[in-house]
Symmetry: C2
Subunit: 476 residues, 2 copies
C-alpha cells in the first residue's frame, strides 16, 4: 500500500485538488504517449459499472450492441463534408504496415458515424428492415492539444449509439429519448443533476442537424458536457446513399441519430462529489460499496471471525472489500476515505464485546454504532441515503449558482463569479466567439426548462427582442 | 427479415459451409478494410456472454480489469528483441496526425506486453506490492496476409491478462492455473473439449519462456488453438528493468505471465457444433436460449395471449426471444434453426386447445409436446441436456480422430486423413518445418495427458529414443 500524499484543498486550487485526488485514489497512471492515460482497477471498475447499468437501460429501448473496426479508409471520411472539417486536424493516421507504405491512408476512428453509415447502407433495403438501433462500447482517438485526465484525452473510452429510421419523426423522438435517458442515468446512478437542452448551431456535432446535451456543474462552477444526442437527419444518408424503399415503394434516404457518453463521466463524478479527503463514489456505481476494516485482530482473533462472517453476509447483495492488513486503524480509515468508498464498517474488540460495530458514512463522516444483527439493513438504507444526499448537495449547488442575466454587464459579472448564466441571446457564431474571448464563457445549451425569465427580453448583445434563452458558462 | 440462402453441406466443402453458416446466421459483415469484420448483434452478444462468464471466473482468481492505451511508442517495442521479431512485419503504424508528421512512429498494439511492462515498472517497489494480476478486454491489430472471419482478422477482440510476481514458482503456477481455467471454460460453457499441453519452442509466444495451449478439433479434423497462457519468466522484466526489493532487501527482476482468449472462440463454436442447418449455440453463452414462435395468431388471438404469458414466465431465468411476425411457420422455424437457438417453442392453436406446446431442440431436431404448466422446468432441463449432448458429440469426435503413430509412414497417413496425431518426436525447429512442408501438419502441443503410448519409443524422424510425445495436426 502506497503512502498517501497531501490533498490540496479544493477551494484553494481546484485543478491541483483534482490531480491530487486522482493520484491518491489510485485511479490512473499516465500512458507512455502524451495525453493518454491508463485506467487502473479503481477507475476501470467504475466504467464497468456504468456499462452494466447503461446496458440494462439500453435493453429497454431495444438497443443492440455491435462492434465495428477501428480504422476508417481515407475516402470514407471525406464523404460528409462538415463532419470531416470537424475532425480532420485531430485524426490519427496510419500510413504503413511494418516497413511497407500503404496505398491509401487509414484513420483511427474519432467517432464512427461513417463506419455505421457504410454498415447501414449494406443492411437496409426496405422500410421493413428499419429501424436499426445499434450501440458499441469502444475507444476512440482525437489528438487534442490540451489534455486533462478523464476529461480530455487523446484516447478515451465511450459508447456510441447509431440508429437508422424510416421517418424523421421516429428519429427525432429517439434523439430526445436518449438525452432524457442520459439525464436520468446521471441523476439516478451518478447522483449528478444536469441542465438538459439543445446546442446552438456553433456547438452542435459536426455533421448533425441538431445536438442535445446534458450539462453538469462541477464544484468550481465550470460546466461539463456529460452526454450528447444528435439528430443527423439525412446528412449522412444522402452522402453515403443510405436509401430504402418506403411504403409507397419509392426510394428514400434514411434518417439517423447518434448519441454517447464517455469516460468523461469519471471526471464528472470526481468533480461533483469529491472533497478535501478525496473522491466520493456514488453508491450505485461504486466499485466497492462497503469497506470492512478489521481492527486489532492480531490480539483479538474474534475480530477476524466476525469480519469473515460480516463479509459473507454483506457480499450477498453488496460490493464488499475487507482490509485485513496490519496497518494502523487511522491509516485504514484514511485509505478507505481517499478511495471514496461510500460506507466503511470498523470492527474492533471494544465494539464487538457489546455486539456492535461502528459504521461511518463517507459523505458526512458521521459515525454510528450499530448492532451487528442490524448491520445489513442499516447499510443498505444508508447507501440509498448517501446517494440522495450527494444528489441533493449537487442540486443545491447547481440551483444556487445558476442565475439569469438580462444585460451584458450583469452577464459578465456572473460569469466572472463562475456561475451558470441563463440569458436572452440570439447572436450568431461570431457573437458567441466574441463573448468567449471577452468572458471565457461558451454557450452550453438552450435549456428545455429554466428559471422563468421575464416575458419581453432583449438579446444581451444585439438589443433585439428575443425569446431564445441560452445557458452560458465556462466549461471543461 | 432476409431470405435464407442455401447452406453447402459441411462434408462437401467445409470452408464454404463455414461462410454460408456465418452469413445466414447474421453473425457478421465484412468491414471496409480488407481482413476486418463487423460483429453484428448476433455475434457480439456471444462475445458479451463470454466476457460475463470469464469475468466471473477471473474474479475467483483475484484478477482486476484495467485499460491501457492502444498506441505503442517505437522505442518500447524494440526493447524485447525476440518479441519485436515476432510481430514487426504485421505492425500497423501511425506516422502522422492530420497533415502533421510525427517525430516517432507509433504502433497499434498487436498485444500489450510492453505497455504492461511499463505500467508494472512504475507500479512496484517492494515485494509487498506484488503480485499484480491485471486483465484487459480490448481489440488488437495484426496485419495478417490471409484472413478468415473470426479465425484470423487484422483486428480482433480479445482479453489479455498480464501479471507480475515476486517469485518464479508463483508465476509458473498462475500460468498453468490459467490454461486450466480456459480448458474448463471451453468445456463447461462452450461445450468444446480440448487437448491441453505445452507448445514446442518453435510454436511458443515471441518473448515467452514457455507457452501452454488448449487445442480444439474442428469438424473437419483441423486444430484450432483456442487459448494460450505464457510464462514470460524475467524476459520482459530484464529488458524493461521491472525490479523490486525482495524480502532480503535486494533488487530482483520480477516474474511475469500473460494469457488470453479471443473472438476466435466464435469460430471454434461454429466449427465444433454447427451442422447443415446452420450454427448451434451452446446454451450457456447463447444470445437467445429459447425462441417462442407464435403461430396462426392472426386467426387465433388466444395464441398471442399465451405467448405473452410464456415470455414473461420464461424470461425470469432464461434469455428468450419471441417471433410474432406474420411469416410462415416453416420459415420461422428455419430462421430459429439457422441462428442456432438451442430450443424453440412452437405455440399454435391446435396444441393450445389441449393446453400443450411443442418444444423442439436444435441439436437433434427432436420434437416433444409438453404441457404448458411444465414448460419452464422442461426447457431448463433440456438446455442442460443440449449442452451435455453437444459436448459428448464433440468429445467422441476428438477421441475417435486422435491416434498414436510410431513411425513416419503411419504419421503421414493419419495426417492425410485429417487426424490429430500423437507421436514420439524430439526434432528441432527445422525438423518441424520439414514435416510441415511434407504433410501440412504443425506441432500443436506436448499434451499433459494422452493415450498411453508404448514405453520405449523412437523419434519418428531421427530414430533416436525419446519420451517426448507431441501432438501434430493441420491447423487453422
Amino acid at each position: 500500500m502506497k503512502k498517501l500524499d497531501k490533498i490540496t484543498p479544493w477551494k484553494e486550487n481546484f485543478a491541483q485538488w483534482y490531480v491530487d485526488v486522482i493520484k491518491n485514489g489510485e485511479l490512473m497512471e499516465y500512458g507512455p504517449i502524451k495525453g493518454t492515460i491508463i485506467f487502473k482497477p479503481n477507475s476501470y471498475a467504475i466504467w464497468e459499472n456504468i456499462q452494466l447499468e447503461l446496458n440494462n437501460l439500453f435493453k429497454t429501448k431495444g438497443i443492440q450492441n455491435v462492434y465495428l473496426p477501428m480504422l476508417i479508409p481515407e475516402f470514407f471520411i471525406n464523404i460528409e463534408k462538415e463532419h470531416v472539417e470537424g475532425f480532420s486536424h485531430e485524426l490519427v493516421t496510419v500510413t504503413q504496415v511494418g516497413e511497407k507504405k500503404l496505398h491509401d491512408n487509414l484513420y483511427i476512428r474519432p467517432t464512427s458515424e461513417v463506419l455505421f453509415a457504410d454498415l447501414f447502407k449494406k443492411s437496409i433495403e426496405s422500410y421493413k428492415d428499419l429501424p436499426l438501433i445499434y450501440n458499441q462500447w469502444t475507444s476512440v482517438m482525437r489528438w487534442e492539444k490540451t489534455t486533462n485526465p478523464f476529461l480530455r484525452n487523446t484516447e478515451f473510452l465511450w459508447q456510441e449509439g447509431h440508429t437508422v429510421h424510416a421517418n424523421a419523426m421516429e428519429a427525432r423522438k429517439l434523439t430526445r429519448d436518449m438525452i432524457k435517458l442520459y439525464e436520468k442515468f446521471l441523476r439516478k446512478y451518478l447522483a449528478i443533476p444536469t441542465i438538459m437542452g439543445k446546442k446552438t448551431p456553433k456547438e452542435k456535432f459536426a455533421g448533425a442537424c441538431s445536438t442535445y446535451t446534458v450539462e453538469a456543474m462541477m464544484k468550481d462552477g465550470k460546466a461539463l458536457q456529460s452526454a450528447t444526442s444528435h439528430y443527423l437527419a439525412q446528412n449522412f444518408s444522402r452522402a453515403f446513399k443510405i436509401a430504402f424503399k418506403n411504403k409507397n415503394n419509392e426510394d428514400e434516404f434514411a434518417y439517423q441519430t447518434s448519441w454517447g457518453v464517455s469516460t468523461r463521466l469519471l471526471g464528472a463524478i470526481i468533480m461533483t462529489h469529491g472533497d478535501d479527503s478525496g473522491i466520493i463514489m456514488p453508491p450505485k456505481i461504486a466499485p466497492v460499496q462497503v469497506d470492512i476494516l478489521e481492527l486489532f485482530s492480531n490480539k483479538y482473533p474474534e475480530v477476524s471471525e466476525k469480519v469473515d462472517e460480516l463479509e459473507r453476509w454483506l457480499s450477498k447483495k453488496l460490493r464488499v472489500r475487507v482490509d485485513r492488513s496490519d496497518a494502523q486503524p487511522g491509516f485504514k480509515a484514511a485509505n478507505s476515505e481517499i478511495q471514496g468508498v461510500p460506507v466503511r464498517i470498523e470492527v474492533g474488540p471494544k465494539d464487538l464485546a457489546e455486539n456492535m460495530v461502528t459504521v461511518v458514512r463517507r459523505d458526512t463522516f458521521e459515525k454510528t454504532r450499530v448492532n451487528i444483527s442490524k448491520v445489513r439493513e442499516y447499510v443498505e438504507e444508508l447507501l440509498i441515503e448517501i446517494h440522495e444526499n450527494l444528489y441533493t448537495q449537487a442540486k443545491k449547488r447547481l440551483e444556487n449558482n445558476t442565475v439569469i442575466a438580462y444585460d451584458y454587464d450583469s452577464f459578465k459579472k456572473a460569469i466572472s463569479e463562475n456561475k451558470f448564466v441563463i440569458t436572452p441571446f440570439n447572436g450568431d457564431e461570431e457573437e458567441e466567439e466574441r463573448i468567449k474571448k471577452e468572458t471565457g464563457a461558451t454557450t452550453r445549451c438552450i435549456p428545455f426548462k429554466y428559471l422563468k425569465p421575464k416575458d419581453d427580453c432583449t438579446c444581451i448583445t444585439s438589443g433585439k427582442l428575443t425569446k431564445r434563452f441560452v445557458l452560458f458558462a465556462k466549461a471543461y
